[in-house]
């Protein structure tokens, strides 16, 4: 049934968009492809799981605190790994590699600590009731996911375009040296951007965790491929592009799973990534100058 698939696709796509938003924000402003980003996704989900199970917090608090925890981890990781490289202007590839090594260490440590078995939220933590319109079923969790995504995207938009901090973030995205000359405290803005990105990734993790009710430390790793596909298709650093591409990818995956095969779904993201690189390397909406060598 097509309508149901489209709804499911929209919900999945919303979480992809949310996840990719933080990733593209990091690249757009901080100029790093940060591979530890997938780990924030796992952190969000794992913290939410712990809060729900052991502390017994309600769902809204779990979503919020999962995101905040991931944001804090993001700030610490960025500070430890990237401050030094940023100061020496080491470029994109060294920062990519350093986050690559770090993320392997982080995943492996958390797998040693928490195990790799799939864990689930307590029974009846997630309200399983749903609206039904004819054959169409929309669960409360799905509504929650879409609402949270829209709320966060709205807040991000307001932050970037209607606040002083947002102005500084945009200045930093244009040019770090100019931003410094304008008296912007770049280090502080870097912390803000890391926190916001981590929060977006973390909330994405909580929402996906709720959607599928399956959580384990490595869950962020498979998500990274989708994140990359979305930010390349949308254009590196392009927030609007990431939103649209995220939703599109979610839709395509759901449709592929139901009309072709569920295993083909896993290849959709990569296929779309490679096709984009061949035919529109700056992304579907990209206008950015591609430097030639």
């Amino acid at each position: 049934m097509l309508a149901q698939q489209l709804v499911n696709g929209l919900v999945l796509g919303a979480t992809y968009a949310l996840f990719a938003l933080g990733l593209t924000l990091m690249f757009g402003v901080l100029r790093v492809i940060n591979l530890t980003y997938g780990f924030y996704f796992s952190v969000g989900a794992l913290v939410a799981l712990w809060l729900a199970r052991s502390v017994g917090l309600p769902i809204w608090a779990v979503v919020l605190l999962g995101g905040v925890a991931a944001g804090l981890v993001a700030v610490v990781v960025d500070g430890v790994l990237l401050t030094r490289l940023r100061r020496t202007k080491a470029g994109e590839l060294p920062s990519l590699m350093v986050t690559l090594g770090a993320v392997l260490a982080l995943y492996s440590l958390s797998a040693i600590w928490l195990g790799t078995e799939i864990q689930r939220f307590p029974f009846d933590f997630v309200d399983s009731s749903a609206f039904e319109i004819g054959d169409l079923r929309i669960s409360l969790v799905q509504i929650l996911i879409v609402c949270v995504t829209f709320a966060l995207v709205g807040l991000l938009f307001v932050l970037l375009h209607y606040t002083r901090v947002g102005l500084m973030i945009r200045a930093l995205a244009e040019n770090e040296d100019t931003a410094r000359l304008m008296g912007i405290n770049v280090d502080a803005i870097v912390i803000v951007v890391s926190f916001v990105s981590g929060l977006l990734g973390g909330v994405g993790g909580v929402l996906i965790g709720l959607n599928f009710n399956a959580i384990q430390p490595f869950m962020g790793e498979t998500m990274m491929l989708r994140g990359f596909a979305v930010i390349i298709i949308g254009g590196l650093g392009d927030i609007r592009g990431a939103l649209i591409a995220g939703v599109l990818l979610g839709m395509f995956e759901v449709l592929t799973a139901s009309y072709i095969s569920s295993s083909a779904k896993e290849a959709v993201a990569f296929g779309a990534l490679v096709l984009t690189l061949w035919f529109r390397p700056t992304g579907l909406f990209g206008r950015k100058e591609v430097k030639r060598a």
Partner: protein, 280 residues
């Protein structure tokens, strides 16, 4: 042969095979990094070589001297497909598009069960890769890289690594060099995969994922990429180390990851900051 040497080979045969194969993988990583690029697809290329080789041997019964080149050819083709568009762009594009390759291939290996054996992988691969063959290939590859490194091509590669724009202005055809390096590196990784498959009798779909990709990178970064020998030494140390330090085996991936972090932050030219000499 002396008796202790026999014993030594018997006890450590897997390790000796492993070091040779990892040496080839380290060289394949070196090949890409020598032109200032980063590929995270070396494990995926290795897997392609392993599956190609194993299937040709098991299903078609082809002789090994046909199987080995074929398992270099298939990854090279995929490298061409990915490198074609990405290498004209900045370095992050290649890294991003190769990081997903391993994951996609894993899904394919698992789902094409009739051909690839699915999650169980392929077993009963004849042991056709002898220690002497592995090390002979490693030696040939080393000599080749050393020769290329000392020639005008090596100079062009070093120039690209330092400043791609300036290298282009020198008349160096940067995109072609980058694509060439990626293809050669995919071929080497494919050969390494084929050798690994024919020295362990079993391959599975989960052996060529993210962790392996990062481990291969850690070989190159531990050794540094100033000379082709350095990454091979990096592979030697990182392959032998877990054998020596058994209690640390669980933390192998943590250590590999930390090596990359420490190398990038504190030893940007590797533990062996050598530089290839071109008798000038």
């Amino acid at each position: 042969m002396a008796e202790w040497l026999d014993d030594f080979f018997f006890t450590y045969e897997t390790l000796i095979h492993g070091i040779g194969v990892h040496g080839l993988l380290a060289l394949s990583m070196y090949c890409v990094m020598a032109v200032g690029q980063l590929s995270l697809g070396q494990a995926a290329f290795m897997g392609l070589g392993a599956y190609t080789g194993a299937l040709l041997t098991l299903k078609l019964g082809l002789p090994f001297y046909v199987v080995l080149p074929a398992s270099a050819f298939v990854p090279a083709l995929i490298a061409l497909l990915i490198g074609g568009p990405t290498l004209r762009l900045s370095g992050v594009y290649l890294a991003i598009s190769t990081v997903g390759l391993g994951e996609v291939l894993r899904v394919i290996y698992i789902n094409f069960e009739s051909l690839t054996g699915g999650a169980l992988g392929l077993s009963g691969i004849p042991m056709k890769a002898s220690v002497s063959l592995i090390y002979a290939l490693l030696l040939i590859a080393l000599i080749m890289f050393w020769a290329v490194g000392r020639s005008r091509i090596g100079r062009a590669m070093e120039a690209m690594r330092e400043d791609e724009v300036a290298a282009g202005v020198m008349g160096i055809n940067v995109p072609v060099y980058k694509l060439g390096a990626l293809i050669v590196s995919a071929m080497l990784a494919g050969i390494a995969g084929c050798l690994a498959a024919h020295s362990s009798s079993f391959i599975g779909p989960n052996e060529y994922g993210f962790e392996t990709a990062v481990t291969i990178l850690s070989f190159a970064l531990l050794g540094g990429i100033g000379t082709p020998l350095a990454p091979v030494l990096g592979a030697l140390v990182l392959t032998a180390l877990p054998e020596v330090l058994r209690p640390l085996a669980d933390f192998r991936l943590v250590i590999n990851g930390m090596i990359i972090v420490v190398a990038i932050l504190f030893l940007p030219r590797g533990v062996l900051p050598l530089r290839l000499r071109r008798s000038a």
